[in-house]
Amino acid sequence: MTETILTTRMVAHPADSHTIDRYLATGGYDALRKAVTEMTPEDVAGEVKASNMRGRGGAGFPTGVKWGFLPDTYPRYLVVNCDESEPGTFNDRQLTERDPHQLLEGAIISSYALGVSQAFVYIRGEYPKGARRLQRAIDEATAAGFLGENILDSDFSLTVTIHLGGGAYICGEETALLNSLEGRRGEPRLKPPFPAIEGLYAKPTIVNNVESISNIPWITLNGGNAYASIGPERSAGTKMLSISGHINKPGNYEIVMGMTWRELIYEVGGGIPGDKGLKAWIPGGASAPWFIPSLHLDTLVTFDDVGQNGSMIGAGAVVVMDETTDVVAAAHSIVRFFAHESCGQCTPCREGTSWLQAVLERIMSGGGRLEDIDLLLDVSDNISPGLKWPPAMTTICPLGPSATAPVSSIIKYFRDEVEAMIGTTEVANV
């Protein structure tokens, strides 16, 4: 396995990875200097487009294409999405806490490219350390002339403001995030209009994920073509994957996509503790349909291969479950999460997620009925007709459909276990 490091070089400098001195000593802010002194904003945007980088936040939409949607009006805003809350995901936390200057430099370069003079970083409230480190980075960068008025003696000026969330997963959805940043309930907006056209304060706004933004300095310095040449064509660059669960070496790994899931789980992740059997894994966070070893171990880790197999890379969270896992209880944990985090705007999601939770709890507590399996599928189908992936939606945002993923996964792959849990208790029930 080739080691390619674009965003995680600070692993080698654990003592002071968050300081401007260390960042400068490892080539930090060279990309910003190159951008504002040698490149036009259009040049920078062109390199990002050429990189073919797909957004790292979950949807996988090409960042450069998104940038191209901005109409020619001002002011415009850049909002960095650090509301990382997808169960299984912790890569944005690493990038923010351990290398805040890289994130900040990416935000500054992006703002230059986009014609932005005020950028916001929306950090979830449960990440105070990341917010502290990034604020320190902002202060250091301002003192050094990389941020503020006339950056590096150019005409380009920028302020970066940190906005702390209040503990709502849904604010990771970009329009909910914008509402939250405007001091409103974090309820997703109907799209269109997309944020690039009408975003923050109804002004053109680009919302990008922390990992996407953290790649911008490298792309600026090395060129979009260099980035595009790494890895498979439609999964270019590196991706940080968070591996957790029943795995010997949990953690964040910056990988070049294109390896198999077998390699990822058994080589990168070191296999299953106690050499237990692998039962299932979630390839892209709690929202994603599950994979199982008999079908998917030799599937490739790319956006497209995972998509063609009915799931998604999402935000890059791999959750591994060994043979001892109670899949009903695991699905319940995920469904409960979505029921708790549903914003309540759309009836199928608000009511449906709670019903899924209630039916699973009935099964788990010994009151399950055989028709509960059809009931779970029926409720799921009302939230996301056809139970396809990517999901059909009856809701404004994908939160509701995400809650159906674990339910349809366990019924599809482990129906006998669900039936057994119902069956063992049915006698007591009649």
């Binding site: 968050h18 169960p87 105070p128 502290r132 403001t161 001091g183 669960g245 959750v319």
Partner: protein, 209 residues
């Protein structure tokens, strides 16, 4: 306008003004101001909501509508130490539910409530981004990873015995933690002084500098 918070500390009045000035639209300061008001009132009281409404130019009902949307704005009294135990999928797989039960037991405080002496509040948290160090919990939003039921119980007893005024993640991790999500990184001497994220200018131990 600022008369409405004339009884706040001078420093927090200045912070409120800075927050409002840092956004193009003053309503955007609503969430930061709710955190600041929590420091003044210990939780988001009705009075706090009236004050914040006045500061940003909306009605108290609108403030309540927003405050009630987010789990971190506490509208009831919170203990000195808010213990938030994650039981989302990875923590669930690795024993988070048992850690939560252990914390409830050690504090004699069921989830969703506050102990009678006001020392502890216990809640079930949804994913706190510590899956590589699961199971994990936060004390006043400061993270500790790699827990077991026994270690979590010992942590709670230590908090009760030593009653630290500032809760430091590094210290708790060193004393009671285990596996971390990423086992490298600089040390941190800043921590929380209450159930508000320790991010200056809200709840940080350095906010009073």
């Amino acid at each position: 306008m600022t008369n409405v918070i004339s009884h706040w500390s001078r420093a927090n009045q200045e912070r409120a003004a800075t927050m409002i000035a840092s956004y193009p639209d003053r309503r955007s300061a609503l969430m930061p101001l709710l955190y600041l008001a929590t420091l003044e009132h210990e939780f988001v009281t009705e009075v706090a909501m009236v004050e914040v409404a006045e500061l940003v130019g909306i009605t108290p009902a609108q403030v309540q509508s927003v405050a009630s949307f987010y789990t971190m704005f506490k509208r009831e009294p919170v203990g000195d130490y808010l213990v938030s135990v994650c039981t989302s999928i990875t923590c669930h797989l690795l024993g988070g539910d048992e850690v939560l039960a252990s914390v409830e037991d050690a504090t004699q405080t069921p989830r969703g409530s506050t102990s009678e002496d006001g020392r502890f509040s216990v809640e079930r948290a949804e994913c706190i981004g510590a899956c590589g160090g699961a199971p994990a919990l936060q004390v006043n939003y400061e993270l500790i990873e790699g827990l077991t039921p026994d270690k979590a119980s010992a942590l709670v007893k230590w908090l009760a015995d030593t009653t630290p005024a500032v809760v430091l993640a590094d210290e708790m991790q060193q004393l009671f933690g285990g596996q971390r999500s990423f086992d490298w990184g600089p040390t941190d001497s800043e921590g929380a002084t209450g159930a508000v994220p320790a991010f200056a200018p809200y709840g940080s131990s350095e906010a009073g500098r």
